[in-house]
């Protein structure tokens, strides 16, 4: 019967389809792979290590308008851009005039709150890199894809980068949540660690990995070695009194000396340290964040610093950014004044400025303020990198020899054991003579602060320095627009430490806010 035949066929079809029903619910993405596959090859493991580093060089792994972290503009979510905004913009060295951008005005004026978008961004960026490092350590704990000694170095570098970001959190936020490779993804909220305990942790990690890292200057460019760990230890110890109340100046001298004796030397030309080809012939930089106009693109990093400092009337082409020049970052008056009343007459090579408008009468005005042209996307021979337009190829030194000289000098002057005043003076004068300026005959703590200003300005040291000198919040030193007043005013001392972002306070009930906020 025809009709029944149709019925019969339909029933068969029905049965076939129903029988295969559940499997269809397992759908997997393409263009992705599993942790197991990534860490089963030496190449994959190294590409995963690249992300542990890349987390502080790029906003995402996809595009310049995407980000690993959320709640902030993607281009702004870069580590260095945010670190710069917190370490430079609130100080006497710099001012950001994009005051309509969220959080900027509060950073300029030291009036931030726990809901500041930039602080939220930096905090999450640092913890993101820590999370990626933790996951690398977890996934490689029993890996056999890479030779044992190579893997040990990779793992030590991941721990170094984690320690570096914990130092950032220690310095800026004090009491962050604590996670290590035993903290798994998607599980319970982490516990808070106190500033003193975090100091101990960072110290212990750096001490533990110093022997596993490769010797100074023997690793590939861009990867951390022993000297990087010592340089961070020296920096950590210099600020120990701020972090824990206990001085470690002798240790600062010890580790600065280790770095100084590791074979680095000052670059003969100061300005070449901040140019597009600073990855080549550079004996001074210990570890840098690497950028490239073609391969490592990001709206933060040195792209932000160079484009931010240059505006369209300064001929962006002459800074290697023919397609850029955003003009939003300027120096506050005290910075050029470190080089005398008129920086153009200074013999100091480090006085790298543009313009004559010292006074900032309006924090939002694009015409006020001296421009800083220390960082550029030009090569040292005057050429521009191939296809350069907006993105900058200049690598950013996070550790360089000059800082270690200054740590030695300051720790010595602060009474650290193992250093000598004459050696301190020598080191300071080495920097001055490299800059082709006159030597000092004596050196005081205040001279060190000024020398740090001249040598390290716009390199993300200033807020920490002013805090260590007790000048960041007090009336002992006022600079234009400090506290939001055009001539400067003191602010409450709790601003020496940033608040834990409100978003994490509400998401993680283990956290207690820093006092004052």
């Amino acid at each position: 019967m025809k009709y029944n035949a149709i019925l019969y066929n339909i029933c068969i079809l029905l049965a076939v389809v129903l029988a295969s029903c559940d499997k269809k619910l397992d759908r997997n993405p393409i263009n992705t792979t599993t942790a197991e596959d990534v860490f089963s090859t030496a190449e994959g493991t190294k590409q995963a290590l690249a992300k542990v580093y890349g987390a502080f060089a790029l906003t995402s792994s996809t595009a310049t308008d995407a980000s690993d972290i959320a709640g902030i503009d993607a281009g702004t979510s870069d580590f260095l851009r945010l670190f710069w905004m917190t370490q430079e913009a609130p100080t006497d060295e710099a001012l950001c005039i994009w005051t309509s951008d969220p959080g900027v005005m509060d950073m300029d004026n030291i009036t931030w709150t726990s809901s500041n978008v930039l602080l939220n961004g930096l905090y999450n960026r640092s913890i993101y890199q820590i999370t990626v490092a933790n996951s690398f350590l977890r996934e490689t704990s029993s890996s056999t894809a890479v030779a044992e000694d190579t893997l040990a170095v990779y793992r030590a570098e991941a721990r170094f980068l984690r320690a570096y970001q914990y130092w950032v959190l220690l310095d800026l936020f004090g009491n962050p949540p604590f996670l290590d490779e035993n903290s798994t993804i998607g599980k319970e909220a982490p516990k808070q660690i106190s500033r003193a305990d975090l100091f101990d942790y960072v110290e212990s990690e750096l001490l533990a990995i110093q022997d596993q890292l490769l010797d100074a200057q023997t690793n590939e460019y861009g990867r951390a070695d022993k000297a990087a760990a010592w340089a961070l230890l020296a920096r950590l110890y210099l600020n120990a009194a701020v972090y824990t109340g206990t001085e470690h100046y002798g240790d600062a001298i010890t580790y600065a000396t280790k770095v100084i004796n590791s074979g680095y030397s000052l670059h003969t030309t100061y300005s070449h340290l901040f140019m597009a080809d600073n990855n080549e012939n550079n004996p001074e930089t210990i570890l840098s964040i690497n950028y490239d106009g073609n391969y490592t693109q990001n709206y933060g990093g040195t792209t932000f610093i160079v484009n931010g400092a240059v505006n369209s009337s300064m001929s962006p082409s002459s800074f290697g950014i023919p397609g850029g020049g955003w003009g939003g970052l300027v120096a506050r008056k005290p910075l050029p004044l470190l080089f005398g009343d008129d920086y153009t007459t200074s013999d100091d090579d480090r006085a790298m400025f543009y313009g004559t408008d010292y006074e900032i009468t309006d924090e939002s005005s694009f015409s006020n303020g001296i421009k800083v042209i220390k960082f550029t996307n030009k090569n040292s021979d005057g050429t521009t990198p191939t296809d350069a337009s907006t993105f900058v190829s200049t690598d950013f030194p996070i550790f360089r020899l000059a800082e270690q000289y200054l740590i030695y000098a300051e720790a010595t002057l602060r009474g650290g054991s193992g250093g000598s005043t004459s050696q301190a003076l020598t080191y300071v004068n080495l920097l001055r003579s490299r800059a082709n300026t006159t030597s000092l005959s004596t050196v005081s703590l205040n001279d060190i602060l000024d020398e740090r200003g001249r040598e390290l300005y716009w390199e993300c040291f200033r807020r920490s320095d002013l805090v260590r000198y007790g000048l960041f919040t007090t009336s002992g030193y006022l600079w234009p627009w400090k506290g939001g007043a055009s001539t400067g005013t003191a602010v409450q001392s709790y601003f020496n430490l940033f608040p834990i972002p409100a978003s994490d306070i509400s998401a993680n009930t283990n956290l207690t806010q820093n006092s004052g906020y």
Binding site: K2, Y3, N4, L7, C11, L14, C21, D22, R27, N28, I30, N31, T34, A35, Q47, A50, K51, G54, A57, L58, S61, I69, A70, G71, D73, G75, S100, D101, G103, D106, S115, I127, Y128, I130, V132, S135, P177, I185, G186, K187, E188, A189, Y221, G222, R223, D292, N294, T296, S312, S313, S315, P316, P322, G323, G325, T384, D387, S506, A507, N508
Partner: protein, 981 residues
Amino acid sequence: MQRKRCLQAYLTLLMLVCSMAAFAQTRQVTGTVTDEKTGDPLYGATIQARGTNYATVTDSTGKFQINVPGNASTLQVSSIGYASKEVPISGPVIRVQLTAFASSLDNVVVIGYGTVRKSDVTGAVNTLTTKDFQKGTVTSFDQMISGKATGVSITPNGGRPGAGSTILIRGLASLNGSNSPLQVVDGAPFDGYVNPNDIESVTILKDAASTAIYGSRASSGVILITTKSGLRGRPKINFNTLVSAGKVSNYVDVLNADEFRTLVTDHYDETYTALLGSASTDWQKEIYQTALTSNTNIAVSGTAKWLPYRISAGWLDQQGVLKTDLMQRGTASLKLTPSFFKKLLKVELNVNASTTKNRNANQSAISNAVIFDPTQSVNGDYGFGDYFQWLNADGTPNTLASLNPVALLMQQNDISRYNRAFGNLKLDLKLPFLPDLHLIANGGVDRSKTTGRTILDSLARNAYSATDDYTYRGSNHQYESDATNAFLEYTLNYTRELPNIRSNINAMATYGYYDYKSEWLNFATYDAYGALWPNTTPTYANGLDQHTLISYVGRLIYTYDDKYTLTASFRRDGSSRFAPANRWGTFPGVAVGWNIKKENFLSDVAALSDLKLRLSYGLTGNQDGISSYSYIPSYYLSNTTAMYQFGSTYYQMYTPSSYDAGLKWESTRSSNIGLDFGFFKNRLSGSIDLYRKYTFDMLSSVNLAAGTNFTNILTTNVGNMSSTGFELNLNAAIIRQKDIDWSVNFNTSHNESIIEKLQSTSASDKGVANTSAGVTGATGNYIEYNAVGNTPNSFLVYKQVYDAATGKPIEGVYADLTGDGAVTSGNDQYFYHAPYPKWLFGFSTNFRYKSITFNTVLRSNVGNYVYNNVAANLGTYALVALNGQLGNASRDIYNTGFAYRQLLSDYYIQNASFLKMDNISLTYDFGRVLRDHINLTLSANVQNVFTVTKYTGLNPEVYNGVDYQFYPVPRVYTLGLNLNF
């Protein structure tokens, strides 16, 4: 476990099929079936001996001949469009007259997976048919029903041809999931394009008891589209064509050239006054055009022998008001509804196909036209074709400057082709031995493909490498994607009248499989001379996204005595978007209806013609709006522009993705109470509904405890949201006479949605930003936030302080809401209104005098607020001259006098309540012309007639609440011709 269930379903089925019916002795009955009113014979009417499988259909003269079992006493006679009738077999010849429904849909309502008698509807359901639809240049179904359906907000996504609308049914049900209703076309869950001319009815299911049958897909309501079917008899042809002209009715209010010159001269020195040009250009007038549209459709419908068919074709040629925007779309549809084996097997085949060619204008011309210096002329030699562009003093292009809007349009040629075909085949089998049981198989496929290429002229200012030597100029980028969706459903439907116990049973069980797959290719970009633009080579050549749903559905509708109806439904859904442990969700629904008018105590109340109470409760789920693979931990390689350098080698980075292994269904519980009423023989009828929706395990983007995932904000199941609302729908046939006919519809609804919980319940928590509604004017500002105690996407702003004497806002001065002596970000920001209307009103009226028909639709939203980002961005003195260029200002600058942007001031949050006349039309019906062969109708129509609002921007109807670069919705004048023969 699932396998077992599958087996059970199969066995049950098999048993039903394999049992056999007994045969008995028969006798012959003949007769005719005619239309009661006209006396016309009815072709294709079904005649069946009740309780048997003996059936036949009438021939073209309405005659039938049937063998019935000796004991058969009653014939059931039915025909599409007519009320079914049971007649006793009183002799060998029987004459039957059937009564036509005024419209076939008046008495049958399409619901999920079937139809029910209107009197059996227990949920909140809105049905609109051809007579209700908006007329004129209507190119999609959402335009037809705007203002007509109670509780449905339809906001156009701008005026671009084919832009579509954002449809919200009863407000929001989700923050991150989708809030778009599920669209079902003739039983196929595809959101493909249906030519409005082919649509017979649109049914909107609003409450959970109606939508729970669609389970996981129905939290935001369901829109059922039913297309027109073939008519009985000889072919009928409908031909209609219209031409229309659309004009921009309103421009953004910026300064004219003279005002601008004065402003620059008054506020700036020689550096910038030197930049002023001598022209007087209204850039907005330069970029817009009168948009001409023609739309022609032809449909043939009839029955060829045994095959009822409807076939249609349409051609739409629509310009956009933005110059160079053009859409050309051809559509074709086919519907076949034959029956076989004496109507035991009913077949329905639907095919909808469309091919669209678009030239896509560069929409950034809209914002650039608003901002561009009105003193410059359009043309000139600046090195980028014959167009004015801003240059630096050294002659290089100023990369921070805005771009000549006319050049943006003319130097871009973006042509895309979009082909889509979807259709379904439905087989409805009645078992000969058990005619009350239907076995229905319904399957369909939806295929679409987009191909296109964006070409920017070699002299385009927006496509050159800003390198020292302009290495690359122009651009040529190809794109291609396609999608394949498929579904298959098996349904058992059992309907049974049980007159002895005055009961009616309609039971149904369905298995459904739904698969959605999209694929795309990634291409590099080349310059106009064929050179590869650096770093545009994609890491992966193609992409794929696929998700699958499997559903088991059951429903019982039980009616007792035509007075009491109980509907109970159950759906179990499995989604590939969740890990196996969380994959399945169960979504039940229950509803009761009480036809009070049928109670004895009301039988004497003559004025009351209808009164029915409806109560419903149900649970629905949602998994739309999240990515297909977000529960799976995975690694991906970074792009070639995101590599990290070790030594002299750049490494692509293996990057862990964030994921939530515990992701599960978002669920919405909702309850509805409704009353349908009719007075004076239903001359006045309507309904009232009250509802409450409660969403839990809500898919929300929330801050994670830092360090617990590879991101800090993740979409996960956190939070609750509630919505409460009220709906009223009134229809009145005020005059119903031979020459004059006047009817009115009024509908209103109120909805209030509140977030009750996110990860924190603290009212001081400002929540998480809606990053899809960014603020133009500074980097990284958001103005809409989701926070506990507020409507979703509420504006988070500072409270502006005004000068008591002048009433003007004081720049940068905001209220210290915390009273701590300082105005700080976050702490002193407060939630001030939201983009969603609190009240919706719709009013339409239809007035006919003899052959002339007039109708109009008015629509009003009340309580919706819009952020006027145009004024906030351009209403400042200091930014008129900046970075070596000049840019126009909003006229609002005279009201504020602001030097700098005050982007987050509540000054710019404006009440955008409005009253809009959507449509006004006049139709003349010439009746039969050309020797009575053709029915001719002419119509004239205006759409977007006027808008009354206090909102100062271009258009108060902005779908995401942030008004910037809004494509104007034109006023459209249409002339139409309609022929039937």
